[in-house]
Amino acid sequence: MKNSIKIISLFFFIIVFSSCKKWVEYNPHDDYQITDLDYLKSESDYRTMEVSVYSPLQWLNQDVVVSDIASDNAVAGGENASDVLNLQNIDDYRVTSDNGTLSDLWTSAYEGINRANYLTQYKDKNPSGETISFAGKDALYGEVYFLRAYYYFDLVKLFGDVPLFTDKRLGITDSRTLKRSPVADVYKQIELDLTNAIAVLPPTPSQPGRITKYAAQALLGKVYLYENKFDDAATMLENVVNGPFSLVPDFASIFLSSGENGPESVFEIQYSNLSPYYNWGGATRGQGNYAVQQCGIRGIQGTSSFAAGWSTNLPTQDLANAYSAGDQRKAATVLDIDKYITDNPSLFTGFSPSTDPGFANNPAYQVAPFKNTGLYDMKYQPRKGQTSGQVELNYLNNYRTIRFAGVLLMAAEANNRKSSPDDVKAKKYLNMVRERAFGDNAHDISATGTALTQAIWDERRLELAMEGDRFFDLVRTGQAATKISGFVKGKNEVFPIPQDEITISGLTQNPGY
């Protein structure tokens, strides 16, 4: 009896002790989780993962707002001076390294780079060491290279020297190990990626919004312009000028939802209201365009197509004044709301154009309480029915990243500034843009040389206002200090590196910050 108890006990303990170890073992599959080793095992895995390399493009919508507000085109507006503080500080040239908008842009662009790198890292062999081959794999990687170039271009424009890595997605142990690479090295990588992309990308997109060979050529042309490589730019952009694009006659129609991915569209970052998003902790990270809400008119009433917004990105009177009479782009770019209400009384029946809030009358809208200019961004004005769910975060408006008109103006500038200038071609491209704007050739430019250069630059402002190029154009062309009040030469050409990257990663700060 006693012996049997002993034997049973011993047996029992052996079972218990060996099962203890097993009991606390863990496999992510127990939680239905897919790990890196489960993935990139099929064409579909590669294609699905590649889609998410596009996602951070959408997160960069504040690039457009920052560029408007940092330039002479727009002010930050808002409820008061402490509303949208990050943008106010950029507007007022008080920007510091703790600016949340800038660090979000930095992080977003690097997430894009890491996603692109993960795919290039496992291009030949997946994490399990297998090679997955499929038709169209090269073209797929063309998109990846383009996207990596886009993200680095974004970083280099905003911040100057930035950490450069292309070999892999960084892991935890890579934290705090990188240094900033010189702008020239970053540009070299951008050129390489875009050249590789051009070699494999198709001329027409398989789906609207997919990157084409022309998009890559246009972006490379733009990059060359930023590098002052005008000869290369002229050659590269010529491919796009001779491509399948055309200028649409009605300028305003480009920015309607019906004008998305139209004949003038070389590359557009796609947004939609079909995946309602509500995460205020990552307001820019959904499928909707958050920047649209910022352009809206506060408390707009009536039956017009406009939906209410925040008035935190208001065009300046200076921009409105820059347009000549007869230029159809003015009304399509700058919305004078009081004039609009007066001109369209039927849309505001029962509401007074007078802007007193209060009980005495029913105001048609609430005047922007701070830095009011009376003007609103017509290109990205929020419209009724174009958002969903959490309405502020889900506007469907695509960001017209590269338009054919922009390509023409870049080509014009490249031809005008290349080592052996071709002003005839430059004027031709410039005047194509002007003729569409005015509907005639009476406003053609006939200047040459540096006068033509200035005319092209001025035209860029009129054509591309509120589209995210103005600040970078002013810096690139050396006009920033004269055009922007508060701009300090030698400092404000770039924004400060986010403070966390200084304190955590030990990166150096840009001069003056």
């Binding site: 993962m49 889609v51 996602s55 960084l170 205020w280 209060g358 029913n362 955590i504």
Partner: protein, 1050 residues
């Protein structure tokens, strides 16, 4: 002869003697009192040398018939020294002397019990009597101020979970102590399901000597709850109690009335270069104070019935309870908590060696809630909404019962409209308990195996109707005529949650003696535990008739289309956790004089990395009962024990980490690492790396040192226990700070930080009988802890920001950071107001480059706040933010006084929390939101005020006076009279006549009677874990409750 003698004489003798005893018996009566003059019931009275005996009744009285030859009675009672008294002089007055220290009293420790006298660790105990006095909704209420070393910060929302900290804040990743109910581990969240009336005692295990037996889960302390069981060979005792009360808000916040509001809005607009908003202030009058509209008187009622008793082979305790608490915000139809409890604790002696224990409890929890804790919650709206709006809508051209604002067009709505459109309900069933077998293998060796389980099934539903907020409101989903705005939908959401856990434990207890005086109590065992959960939720749009009546997935008609893909959607989540452990403990004492204890536990957790699956924990303690020494002769000190302990415990509040790939679209995780892209009008899901791995992940290691003493003195009238502790955590689980260029994949938790906490817990007791009829008992607890984060990572850059709120900007008010107290308030220090432009121009720092002064706040205007340039550089920016307050108290005290006079009992409990700051985060500060009466003292010109809390008022706040600063910090120290109870027990003489009852007591009670505090908000007690405690976003205040009740014992 011898034979004959036996045969004849013996029976004769027996006959003779017995006849004598019948003839000479006598009746002895008497009353037994203790040394405090209180009646001692259930004392055993035995005629010395016989088996004849009885027990004393409720009044301590007894009556016993004894043979005349008996001249002494032996009287014994638990907790008292034995007494022998002569039978002469009946009726007798017997006075029993209380034992120096209750020798028989035991505390429940992990996997066993221990005599209090032999405990060398630090334990706080709260007994049923204390709990009963409070009538708490959740039992944590009873710990507050009654258990030293425990800090409880209560909330006001019905049934809500308080913040509970045992001995400071050692960890970041969770500070909830574990709760062990009758041996079965549960969580603090589970305490909303237990009926406080079922609890016999709560022991709070505080130091490593007591918590190490729980190993990797013991790091935050252990709350051991013991419920009632039956008693052998006792007739059934039935207790019935009922309590009914009315709750009301104790205080309102000073906001502007309509005229004041109009004037300040005008001033703000004009100061910003705008127009006068209210040209005629005289028409505004007082307007509406929305607080008057949302707060209601709300009933609370609580009924309990229980029966306990037992036979020789079986004992039982069965009980039922019902609690119904309505909320004071919005009233019972919108905010309430209902709990129904049933418990059966059964013990069976299956044989002389085998015992079966079945504890089974069921609870049903039903609740409804209102939006809380934000500027646009119900309370937040009541504080911030436009006071010029009338309560009811008189505009017949629009639908809507309540008034609307033409100034506040989004975010903040009429709180009554909001309340009216709040629909939700949660209904949950919980079954928990244990099946336990105890087998006595040999004398003193018992093998116990138990299976504990908890099963929680909850369903919830909420309805978001279409609402019309006002003609100009931009967030309307309904038109002024009641029709639906195109593209808007109402929606109903339903969820089902299932959480289940079980613990399987087997352990052997062996108690033995060596050479009579060396006592050993040992235990070894193993434990397996698993918990798992599933949550499924779905929502659907287009509920018929926009009505709660039809708010159900089955009735809603929404179907997904390409333009509205979320008309009908579902989601789910699941989790599990597993642990395996071995443990052992040896308790030793020599003549109850020298005490020692040693604990070892080896814990394995599924969560830890492959390199660290198992962790070992050890602790040891020593004690010396000095008063048991022969040389210890003191008339003043009756009892003295000195004790000390040291050991390690852990914390495993972490999940496994691995490289995961997530697929889909937008992310709602902390880093918003979204996927997918829209091509044209087609959304295409994407995939990406979502997390990193950390194979080295391990437990948090906590080392705790404790030293203390227990003493009673002056005829046992006074008692004092005091402990000093020092806790150090290494390998603190914390999210490291990593380079931003890593992107947005989730950063894994790592063992990178360390913290230290130290403090003193003290309990002082006083019991005395002042006159024959008047006795007093009083206890005072004192709890203090100082906490410091000593590291987060090597360079201290890993910081967690918390306490988020919105006042026009998204703000963070708290931080967990190296070199500071956990969860401290972080912001700008104010330095008065700029009185003149010259003040602004003169507020400079010298540039180290140009050697010229640089104006620090160039945008400020006279009347704006001057912020301290704490780092001395030439920029006044985020780097100047610093510690501006601490949400956790420096010390807390609880003071209980009980008086008994004849049938009356009076009990008053006062709780004090000193040194805790509150951050006022309920002010929205929009141009047209209402303001608080502090604005009436605002700066209006040079010299008017220099108080940084009262800057000028303007719509254009160019100086950002609303930034996080000590402007919003208030001293939240308070003294609360938490409980006053006055009871009356009917005299036994009256009760005995009725024959129905054993005891009848009626009482009246006031909870949260009064709060002494300087804090201007509703209630300075603002719970919220580490990072949200003390951040008052319009916290649901604790109600003042007036109630009456009755306790009956059959």
């Amino acid at each position: 002869m011898k034979k004959n003698f036996k045969r004849i004489f013996l029976p004769l003798c027996i006959l003779l003697f017995s006849t004598t005893s019948w003839a000479q018996s006598k009746t002895v009566t008497g009353k037994i009192l203790n040394d405090r003059g209180e009646a001692v019931m259930d004392a055993s009275v035995i005629a010395k040398g016989t088996k004849i005996g009885t027990t004393s009744d409720h009044n301590g009285e007894f009556s016993l018939s004894v043979p005349a030859t008996v001249n002494k009675l032996v009287i014994t009672a638990i907790n008292y020294n034995d007494a022998e008294v002569a039978t002469s002089g009946s009726p007798l007055n017997v006075v029993l002397k209380t034992l120096a220290k209750d020798l028989t009293e035991v505390v429940v420790v992990g996997y066993g019990t221990q005599q209090v006298i032999k405990v060398s660790g630090a334990i706080s105990t709260v007994k049923a009597a204390e709990i009963k006095k409070l009538n708490p909704v959740r039992l944590e209420e009873a710990l507050q101020g009654n258990a030293s070393g425990v800090t409880v910060i209560d909330g006001g929302s019905p049934g809500s979970k308080p913040t509970v900290l045992i001995r400071g804040i050692p960890s970041f990743s969770g500070t909830d102590p574990i709760v062990v109910i009758d041996g079965i581990p549960q969580t603090l969240d589970d305490l909303n399901a237990i009926n406080p009336a079922d609890i016999q005692s709560i022991n709070v295990l505080k130091d490593a000597a007591t918590t190490a037996i729980y190993g990797v889960k013991g790091g935050n302390g252990v709350i051991v709850v013991t419920t009632y069981t039956g008693r052998k060979n006792q007739k059934t005792e039935i207790n019935v109690s009922g309590n009914y009360g009315i709750q009301q808000v104790a205080k309102k916040i000073g906001v502007l009335n309509a005229s004041e509001y109009g004037a300040i809005v005008n001033e703000g607009s004009v100061a910003a270069g705008g127009k006068v908003i209210f040209p005629d202030l005289s028409v505004l009058g007082a307007g509406t104070n929305w607080q008057d509209e949302i707060f209601d008187k709300a009933p609370i009622q609580n009924y309990n019935v229980s029966a306990r008793g037992g036979s020789d082979k079986m004992t039982y305790f069965v009980s039922g309870g019902y609690l119904d608490q309505d909320g004071i915000v919005g009233g019972g139809s919108k905010s309430n908590f209902k709990r129904t409890n049933a418990t059966a604790n059964l013990n069976f002696d299956l044989s002389s060696k085998l015992k079966l224990i079945l504890n089974t409890s069921y609870a049903n929890l039903k609740s409804q809630g209102v939006q809380e804790n934000s500027f646009n919650s119900i309370i937040g709206s009541a504080l911030n909404f436009d006071p010029t709006v009338p309560v009811y809508n008189s505009d017949t051209s629009v639908v809507g019962k309540y008034g609307y604002s033409n100034l506040l067009l989004s975010e903040i709505f009429n709180p009554l409209t909001k309340l009216d459109n709040t629909y939700n309900v949660s209904n949950g069933d919980k079954l928990y308990g244990k099946i336990e077998l105890q087998y006595k293998i040999i004398k003193d060796l018992t093998l116990t195996t138990r299976f504990g389980y908890t099963d929680w099934n909850q369903t919830g539903k909420s309805f978001t109707p279409l609402v019309f907020y006002g003609p100009l409101n931009v967030e309307n989903t309904m038109n002024a005529d009641g029709s639906t705005i195109s593209g808007k939908h109402n929606s109903v959401s339903e969820n089902k949650n299932t959480d289940a856990s079980f613990t399987s434990e087997t352990f052997a207890n062996y108690n033995f003696k060596i050479n009579r005086d060396h006592n050993f109590e040992t235990v070894v065992g193993i434990s397996f535990a698993k918990s798992r959960g599933d949550a499924i939720n779905a929502s659907r749009q287009d509920v018929p008739f926009n009505s709660w009546t039809f708010a159900d997935l089955t009735a809603a008609t929404g179907t997904n289309t390409t333009t509205n893909p979320s008309a009908y959607s579902a989601g789910n989540s699941q989790y599990f956790r597993k642990n395996a452990s071995y443990f052992g403990r040896v308790n030793y004492d020599y003549k109850s004089k020298y005490l020692a204890s040693f604990i070892a536990r080896r814990d394995g957790s599924y969560a830890f990395g492959p390199a660290n699956k198992f962790a070992d924990f050890y602790s040891g303690s020593l004690g010396w009962v000095a008063s048991n020494e022969d040389f210890f002769k003191s008339d003043f000190i009756n009892y003295l024990k000195v004790r000390g302990s040291y050991g390690t415990v852990g914390n495993e509040n972490v999940s496994p980490q691995y490289v995961s790939i997530s697929t889909g679209g937008p992310s709602y995780g902390g880093t918003a690492n979204s996927n997918g892209y829209t091509f044209g009008n087609t959304f295409v899901p994407g995939s990406t790396v979502a997390s990193y791995k950390n194979d080295g992940l391990a437990w948090e290691k906590q080392k705790q040192f404790n030293v203390g003493f227990d003493a009673t003195f002056f005829k046992n009238k006074f008692s004092l226990s005091a402990d000093y502790f020092d806790k150090r955590v290494s390998g603190l689980l914390f999210t490291p700070s990593v380079s931003l260029y890593l992107g947005t994949a989730a950063i894994p938790t790592a063992n990178i930080g360390s913290t230290k906490s130290s403090g003193v817990d003290m309990t002082f007791g006083y019991n005395d009988k002042i006159t024959r009829e008047l006795s007093i008992n009083s206890s005072l607890t004192f709890t203090t802890s100082t906490n410091l984060v000593t590291a987060t990572n090597s360079d201290g850059t890993a910081i967690i920001n918390g306490g988020s709120y919105f006042n026009g900007q998204s703000q963070n008010a708290t931080r967990f950071q190296k070199g500071f107290t956990p969860g401290y308030f972080y912001g700008y220090k104010t330095d008065g107001l700029f009185q003149t432009q010259a003040d602004v121009n003169n507020y400079t720092a010298i540039s180290p480059v140009t050697k010229l002064p640089v104006v620090l706040q160039p945008n400020a205007q006279p009347g704006d706040i001057r912020y301290a340039n704490t780092n001395g550089d030439t920029l006044l920016n985020a780097a100047d933010q610093t510690k501006i307050g601490d949400p956790f108290p420096k010390f807390t005290m609880g003071w209980n006084v009980g008086l008994n006079f004849k049938g009356f009992d009076l009990s008053v409990f006062t709780y004090a929390s000193i040194g805790n700051d509150v951050y006022r985060a309920y002010e929205r500060n929009a141009n047209y939101s209402n303001k608080f009466d502090g604005v009436l003292n605002r700066w209006t010109g040079a010299g008017s005020t220099n108080d940084a809390r009262d800057p000028r008022y303007t719509f254009a706040d160019v100086n950002s006076n609303i930034r996080v600063s000590d402007r919003y910090i208030e001293d939240g120290s308070f003294v609360k009279i938490k409980n006053i109870v006055l009871g009356y027990s009917l005299p036994q003489s009256l009760i005995k006549q009725s024959k129905a009852f054993n005891n009848v007591r009626v009482y009246a009670q006031v909870k949260n009677a009064y709060t002494f505090t300087k804090y201007s908000g509703f209630d300075p007690e603002v719970p919220g874990g580490i990072l949200n405690t003390g951040v008052d976003r319009g916290e649901y205040p604790q109600a003042r409750t007036y109630s009456v009740g009755i306790d009956l014992k059959f």
